[in-house]
């Protein structure tokens, strides 16, 4: 999500459709990718062309997407390695190399992860957070939960900088591993918690002064337009076409 907190690192992208349509298309896309059978690598690659196209069309920072995804791969690689080890039945020969079923299904797991994570990143880089909240409200998500999401998002940047300051102060007073034990960290977390409570009190008083009544005010959500309907329909047709072309 881009917002005022980190807008300097995010591109300004205008979506071709409304937010609800964008969220629906994302959900449909992930559903199609996940439903691809576990031995069908070409279908996953074909679906992967769509987020790749979106990255280049919207001129999104490829480096940022790459590094974020790289950090999330270890668990997926572990699962793929499991397939490699446990399924050694020969699938086909690629020249002199014997490709096993585990190699194919393992690479499908990695490819599916890359494609779905890239799609999520494209979405998060294109939609401001407050609009995401409005879209959720329009889908009937409880207002209290949307308020909760908006508060968490808003204050996570603020508290993160406070946590960083605490950690920096501790690191300056530590030598090697000494001073970085769990009990020292727990005391830091404890004081961060007490400060957080004090901050929550101040925030609540400020919000009450502005008329807060248990939920954040929401901008009027535009209705689901014909353009939105067309976007969802065309995207669905694309996904179905890829399915029929690549999944026997």
């Amino acid at each position: 999500m881009n917002d005022s907190g980190n807008r300097h690192s995010q591109p300004d992208v205008r979506l071709p459709a409304g937010d609800r349509a964008a969220l629906s298309v994302l959900a449909l896309f992930i559903l199609f990718v996940v439903a691809v059978p576990k031995n069908n690598l070409p279908a996953v690659i074909a679906y992967g062309s769509l987020p790749a196209f979106a990255i280049f069309a919207a001129r999104l920072p490829l480096k940022l997407v790459f590094w974020r995804i790289l950090g999330l791969l270890p668990f997926v690689l572990f699962m793929a390695a499991g397939n490699l080890y446990f399924d050694r039945e020969p699938a086909f020969n690629a020249g002199k190399i014997l490709v096993t079923g585990g190699m194919v299904s393992g690479s499908v797991i990695v490819a599916k992860s890359l494609v779905t994570l890239t799609a999520l990143h494209v979405f998060s880089l294109c939609m401001p957070f407050h609009r995401f909240g409005n879209a959720l409200r329009a889908f009937g998500v409880p207002a209290l939960f949307v308020t909760q999401l908006q508060l968490v998002y808003r204050y996570s940047f603020l508290l993160a900088s406070e946590a960083r300051s605490l950690q920096k102060a501790r690191d300056l007073r530590s030598f090697g591993r000494k001073g970085k034990e769990p009990d020292t960290a727990a005391h830091l977390i404890g004081s961060l918690l007490v400060r957080t409570y004090a901050r929550a009190e101040r925030i609540y008083m400020a919000m009450s002064a502005r008329g807060f009544e248990n939920s954040m005010p929401a901008a009027e959500t535009p209705s689901f337009t014909a353009r939105d309907g067309k976007t969802v329909a065309v995207s669905s047709l694309c996904f179905i076409a890829i399915w029929f072309l690549f999944v026997p």
């Binding site: 992930i30 974020r68 599916k112 939960f145 908006q150 508060l151 591993r177 929550a200 009544e213 248990n214």
Partner: protein, 343 residues
């Protein structure tokens, strides 16, 4: 422990989306009834606190590696189950959409594994039972050291079940459990120790922050907790030693007619119902489904450990608990209505 979309089938992902979505709706409705704006602001800021607290890392003794707080149990101790569940779910939604940490289809599973177990199982059944009304560091310590690893282990076990039920990974259930459970036990012990120190610190410096949620109705949850734990142990472990000899009915039929089970009748109704049952039974004969060519070898094993029986036992226990609990709630509501009408 965040799951990726690639490891899940749409059916498993969808089921847990529905489950977690219902839990969010229920928690939100319950919380909204309280109309406490102060706590709503607090929930939001504490959700952000979990993000911030995860930035403070520490060295894990004896390993040389570093770790950070998960925060599930701590948040529940501070906010209570429903509010903590909403706060944790919101953190997971933001982690999924902003950091792509965990997939979108897997979001339901991740909320269930990382928020449901600490908020609705580990805290009310273990932490509150052990800590009681007391804010003494000893009891808080014991409660944290038991509840945090238990919550984390249940989540890790749930990851194993969801992955196995999805059928994407070739990792056998037993091997996967062997990888996941010990490491999460170790992580849980560190999580418990950090939670203990933080709660003890807050109890010493700002005890008013804890008094609202710790220790309420602690004695009431002992009996259900004991039953749930006993049911899970019986279903998951004791079932390995169940006798494979015929049961009473099969024995009597074998004695009278010479066959243990009657042959299926070839009528269309029986055939249709058998086909429906075959489709619906996701753990046939208390084990995993066997697929034609790739059926596991039926070698006689020396060990009684059977992952299929464990999954069947635990799933069965939880399903019975769910059905009985729902029936109990419905009957309770009806009785209340009748009593109100009688007055």
């Amino acid at each position: 422990m965040h799951m990726a979309d690639a490891l899940l089938s749409p059916v498993t992902g969808g089921t847990f989306w529905a489950l977690s979505g219902s839990l969010i709706a229920w928690s939100a409705r319950k919380t909204a009834r309280e109309q406490d704006g102060r706590k709503t602001a607090l929930m939001g800021v504490l959700g952000a606190f979990v993000f911030a607290a995860q930035m403070i890392n520490f060295t894990i003794p004896g390993t040389g590696s570093s770790g950070h707080l998960g925060g599930g149990l701590l948040l529940t101790v501070l906010l209570g189950p429903c509010r903590a569940f909403l706060a944790l779910a919101s953190v997971l939604v933001i982690q999924c959409l902003f950091f792509a940490d965990g997939g979108l289809l897997a979001l339901g599973c991740n909320i269930f594994n990382l928020a449901f177990f600490p908020a609705f199982i580990a805290f009310p059944l273990l932490f509150r039972t052990i800590a009681g009304d007391s804010l003494s560091p000893g009891r808080i310590g014991a409660a944290s050291m038991i509840a945090a690893p238990a919550g984390l282990l249940m989540g890790a076990f749930s990851v194993v079940l969801q992955t196995t039920l999805s059928g994407i990974s070739e990792l056998p259930l037993g091997t996967f459990m062997l990888f996941m459970l010990p490491i999460h036990l170790a992580i849980g012990i560190v999580e418990g120790a950090v939670t203990w120190t933080v709660v003890a610190f807050v109890a010493r410096t700002e005890p008013s922050l804890l008094s609202s949620e710790t220790g309420q109705n602690s004695h009431r949850s002992i009996i259900p907790a004991a039953f749930v734990i006993a049911a899970l142990i019986t279903g998951g472990v004791v079932s390995w030693f169940a006798s494979s000899s015929p049961d009473g009915l099969e024995w009597s039929m074998a004695k009278t007619s010479g066959i243990a089970e009657p042959e299926d009748r070839n009528e269309p109704v029986h055939k249709t119902l058998a086909a429906v049952q075959k489709q619906l039974a996701f753990l046939p004969d208390y084990g995993f489904r066997k697929t034609g060519a790739r059926a596991p070898q039926t070698s006689v094993s020396d060990t009684p450990v059977n992952p299929g029986t464990t999954v069947s036992g635990i799933t069965g226990s939880l399903l019975v608990l769910l059905v009985a609990g729902t029936a109990g709630l419905m009957l309770g509501t009806r009785t209340k209505k009748t009593e109100t009408a009688g007055e």
